[in-house]
């Protein structure tokens, strides 16, 4: 057991609460949460502009969106009554590690007065998902009625914006699917192992323009796991340790209609932050495991993490340098979400493949230089980015 290093690293600097002898409050939902956050910040002598971390035992990203802030730390830990103790623990660790500086956690619930309100315990009215305890779900009012097909419709909007602003072409996006499939030919567990061409991608049915069927990830079964321990213990274990050299999170929205710039993700914040922590430059990276829910997703990661300039992703990928036998950087060597597997939350597989490559255990698809890998996950609809930089013993 190593000594805990969080001692003295962080403190609670503001608090607020509210209750009434009647057992009921006038405010509820988000308005009540905002009132509590403002009061605690006032108590601390801070403002909402200081806040860069959000804890919420529900949806911290939805809360952050409501607050109009773009956090670089979110914690949605929900374990029941002790959730907020865990939020304190996690936030202290995060602050000690420099992930963020000012974290808020908030709780508001009004079950007693909710019972007396028309419509019962939710507010937001009818329709699928129309009511929720914390207030109306804005997506049900402001996205779903327009027939947005999720998730591909959201990514299609981002791709349309990228094409319009930067001239990115359908052929360039297709190249990502082609290269990823080429890697999948060397993964005996991949869903699809037959090579494809750019024309195959362009000839596949249009789903939501500009995305064709082969621009979209699979829907498959799949499972994975990882185990982590201290660097000290890791050295005594049987396998070559894969060290976490850097990690960072950044969120920018919950609904695609609230994304500040549809051609730039929060990976532009999390990527450089994680690389900086790791002391690694993009040209030191041997492998990018970049979440490829759609071809556009992977292209945005390449730009936002700095492997190429903003808007240059199309030109960067079009010579096929990210595929087998290409350049010094390999991408999605397991065949990715596009050709290997995509059970829904694919981020686990990014880490597993990165570890296998760094250990030199990737078989036929093993990349020759394998010291540094980046696993970059994308959550929601390009909403919350998590970048992890991994390295071998040699990189320490």
């Amino acid at each position: 057991m190593t000594e805990r290093t969080l001692r003295g690293a962080a403190a609670i600097v503001g608090v607020a609460d509210i209750a009434s002898p009647t057992g009921q409050l006038d405010q509820r939902g988000r308005a009540l949460e905002v009132a509590m956050i403002r009061a605690a910040l006032d108590d601390a002598g801070l403002t909402l502009d200081d806040v860069d971390g959000v804890c919420h035992a529900g949806s911290p990203t939805a809360l952050a969106e409501f607050l109009g802030i773009q956090p670089r730390y979110v914690d949605g830990t929900v374990v029941g009554g002790s959730s907020y103790e865990l939020h304190v623990e996690h936030a202290a660790a995060a602050i000690a590690a420099g992930l963020c500086e000012v974290v808020v956690s908030v709780y508001a619930s009004t079950p007693r007065s909710d019972r007396r309100r028309p419509g019962g315990g939710t507010f937001g009215g009818g329709g699928p998902g129309g009511g929720r305890p914390m207030g109306p779900n804005p997506a049900v009012e402001w996205e779903i009625p327009f027939g947005l097909r999720m998730p591909m419709g959201a990514y299609a909007l981002a791709a349309s914006r990228h094409m319009a602003v930067y001239g990115t072409t359908a052929e360039q996006l297709a190249q990502i699917a082609v290269d990823t499939r080429a890697w999948a030919t060397m993964n005996p567990n991949a869903r699809f192992q037959e090579p494809i061409t750019i024309q195959d991608v362009l000839d596949s049915p249009m789903i939501a323009s500009p995305l064709h069927l082969l621009d979209c990830c699979l829907v498959t079964d799949g499972a994975g796991a990882f185990v982590m321990t201290s660097a000290e213990r890791a050295r005594d274990l049987g396998r070559p340790p894969v060290y976490v050299l850097g990690a960072a999170t950044a969120g920018s929205h919950q609904m695609i209609s609230q994304m500040p710039d549809l051609a730039t993700t929060a990976g532009a914040v999390s990527g450089p932050a994680a690389l900086r922590m790791a002391g690694v430059k993009t040209n030191d990276v041997d492998l990018l495991m970049g979440y490829d829910s759609f071809t556009i997703t992977a292209l945005l990661h390449l730009e936002d993490l700095g492997f190429c300039g903003k808007g240059e992703g199309g030109a960067f990928v079009e010579d096929g340098k990210l595929g087998p036998g290409g350049g010094p950087l390999a991408m999605n060597t397991n065949g990715g979400g596009l050709s290997y597997t995509h059970p829904g939350m694919y981020g686990m597989f990014l880490l597993v493949e990165a570890a296998r490559q760094l250990r030199g255990e990737a078989g036929q698809r093993q990349i020759p230089r394998h010291d540094v890998a980046v696993a970059h996950g994308s959550g929601g609809v390009l909403s919350t980015m998590g970048t992890v930089v991994l390295g071998t013993e040699a990189t320490l």
Partner: protein
């Protein structure tokens, strides 16, 4: 025929939907920041004590992003054919999701000026849609 999914009326957005009955297009403004807000929020998080004011909006906008949906989304029917889901940058400085109608789907381009048109809902309300200006 798939039934269209009609938006629920939340307490927060009731003024929007009430105005839509008369085909009036209103947006919520924060009296503190002097800016329009979208989507409608219970409070301006930067100034929760400030009033939210609903003001008439121009209905003018520009296409920010657009996708022709060939596979239908919720409440849409494949038989109705491809339709355009778009983000519209309104003249008032906010961006909202909508559809662009009244033209060939692939004629819709990023940067195209559009103006508001109303689609009737089943209960007398109207859904904001946009058409080339």
């Amino acid at each position: 025929m798939t039934a269209r999914i009609e938006p629920p009326v939340s307490p927060v957005s009731k003024p929007f939907w009430d105005a839509s009955r008369d085909q009036r297009f209103v947006l919520p403004w924060s009296t503190a920041s002097g800016k329009a807000m979208w989507y409608p929020r219970e409070v301006d998080p930067q100034a929760p004590d400030a009033a939210i004011e609903w003001r008439e909006a121009s209905g003018d906008g520009v296409v920010y992003a657009a996708s022709v949906h060939h596979r239908p989304g919720p409440g849409r029917d494949e038989a109705d054919g491809p339709y355009v889901v778009a983000l519209i940058e309104l003249a008032e400085g906010v961006r909202m999701m909508s559809n662009v109608v009244g033209c060939e789907p692939y004629d819709v381009a990023v940067g195209m000026p559009v103006r508001l048109v109303w689609e009737p809902l089943s209960d007398g309300r109207h859904l904001p849609q946009f058409t080339p200006a």
